[in-house]
């Protein structure tokens, strides 16, 4: 089990000590051309989570490859590069330019930019032809049948899935009754996403058995364990990193305690356990023994 950051929730060059607490660092999404991102205000806190509409601000492929990637390599943390675009060729061209990294995450689900014209499966298939690196498709739980999308990207050659991205939401200023965010809507993140993340990981694991990086509302070690029990192999931290830059170390400690409380040795021992309602945890204990 690897503990990662969710893309867009950490800048390893500004906060290398936070990145070094992780088993891998996932970059902010890189697009072919530089993007300044959306106009401010870009974030809002609600009683149900945080909204963001950053808009894929990034230096663009050329500057990322020339300036950012070499500096990221110096951190000594395995790198995952999140790749975005507006058509399959955008994604594939960036994939083809990447090597010497752990994996590529294809951001197929940003709620804060216009969607790519091509389908998720078309994008994955085009990228598959462009790179031998492991490809993870980051999907949205907002799709009416995310398991079907998961099957389609698996058939197109994805090695894994990243689940889930933020979900589109809106906050109004109670005094003006107008949206707080300049873009209007933004991506909702935070603990209220966890039940949706669990259900999505559960459904997509059942549909594909692919390696899944689970994320969405993870605040504690118990949350990590639940995502793994739903079928995730790895887990990423998102919004919790904003509130607590020491979250990776804390979550690991809590995970250890949660495993001890269940008398389980490794997170992998409960992988996909929620798919076996007839089995009790005692069976898992015996397997471990």
């Amino acid at each position: 089990m690897m503990l990662l950051n969710a893309s867009g929730c950490l800048d390893a060059l500004v906060a290398p000590d936070v990145a070094r607490q992780l088993d891998g660092f996932v970059t902010k999404t890189i697009t072919p051309l530089p993007r300044e991102g959306n106009a401010p205000p870009r974030i809002a806190e609600t009683a149900h989570g945080m909204l963001n509409a950053i808009g894929l601000a990034n230096p663009g492929r050329e500057r990322f490859l020339a300036e950012h990637l070499p500096r990221l390599r110096e951190l000594g943390v395995p790198l995952w590069v999140s790749v975005g675009g507006f058509c399959a060729a955008d994604y594939a061209d960036t994939c083809a330019a990447l090597d010497g990294i752990e994996a590529i995450e294809l951001n197929l689900s940003c709620p804060n930019v216009d969607e790519a014209a091509d389908s998720a499966a078309e994008i994955v298939a085009t990228c598959r032809a462009a790179t031998p690196l492991p490809l993870y498709a980051k999907l949205s739980a907002a799709h009416p049948d995310v398991a079907a999308v998961a099957r389609a990207v698996a058939a197109a050659g994805a090695d894994g899935l990243s689940l889930i991205n933020t979900l589109r939401g809106m906050a109004l200023d109670p005094h003006t009754l107008r949206p707080v965010l300049a873009r209007g809507s933004g991506g909702l993140s935070g603990p209220d996403l966890k039940p949706i993340a669990l259900a999505t990981v559960h459904a997509c694991y059942a549909a594909t058995q692919l390696t899944i990086v689970g994320m969405g509302g993870v605040m504690t070690g118990s949350d990590v364990l639940e995502l793994i029990a739903c079928g995730a192999r790895h887990v990423a931290l998102g919004t919790v990193l904003f509130a607590d830059p020491d979250a990776p170390a804390r979550v690991r400690d809590e995970l250890e305690r949660a495993l001890e409380a269940l008398a389980v040795v490794r997170p992998d021992d409960v992988h996909a356990f929620a798919h076996s309602p007839a089995k009790s945890l005692e069976i898992a204990h015996k397997v471990v023994a």
Partner: protein, 252 residues
Amino acid sequence: MPRRERRNVLAVERLGPYSLLRLDRGGLDPGVPGQFFMLEAPGRLLPRALSLCLAPAGELAFLIDPVGPGTRALCSLGAGEAIHVFGPLGNGFRLDVGRPLLVGGGIGMAPLPYLADALHDPPVVLGFRSEWHAAAAALLPGAEVVVEPALVTELIAPGHDVLACGPAPMLQAVGALCPGAQLAWEAPMACGYGACYGCAVEINGVLKRLCVEGPVLSAGAERTRRDEAAVGEHLNGETSRLARGPVRERAR
């Protein structure tokens, strides 16, 4: 170096509508005046960014305007309760100035008492929305104080190195009057350490993260147009509290 520690509340003192939250300093470095800390807001998902107001021995004190759920929760803390505090963060004021004049507007006066200590009690001018708000001037004895409709910019004498914090219109006016001024800005922040990209402001025509590039910028670094929408707006009804002054405060 920034650290995150759980610190005890020593006291919360009222100053007009504002509260001075006094925390046990622990192992936290008070940093340079104008730097800020992320304070856990009880019951809220995200911490709140607050510039350090005072740093007496063993303490860190923050002046807070309770305008939203997070700042209200912070002002409602009692002695003995504990919150997580992360900092110091961002870039503070440069202290290598010959003839300093501190200029504050409303809750934007928050970083000035600590700054005045560092600069050995320079002249200070403050503007407030009302006499009630001006109660906070007690933290800067000797400051010249005006209340609206008078504007604090009317008190700026020429020939000074101006260091200012306040609402965006005030800072823009100060920057126009004093092109070399150091101005402490604000923007909504989720993390305070460059992770969220939420606090983007336009600096010299490019959107940059205020937590990394600021919050103190020289008036020459033009911060214009697009960022104005962010200032005085909110993180669910409240700004980051780095600076907020009378002009944008909501009628209560």
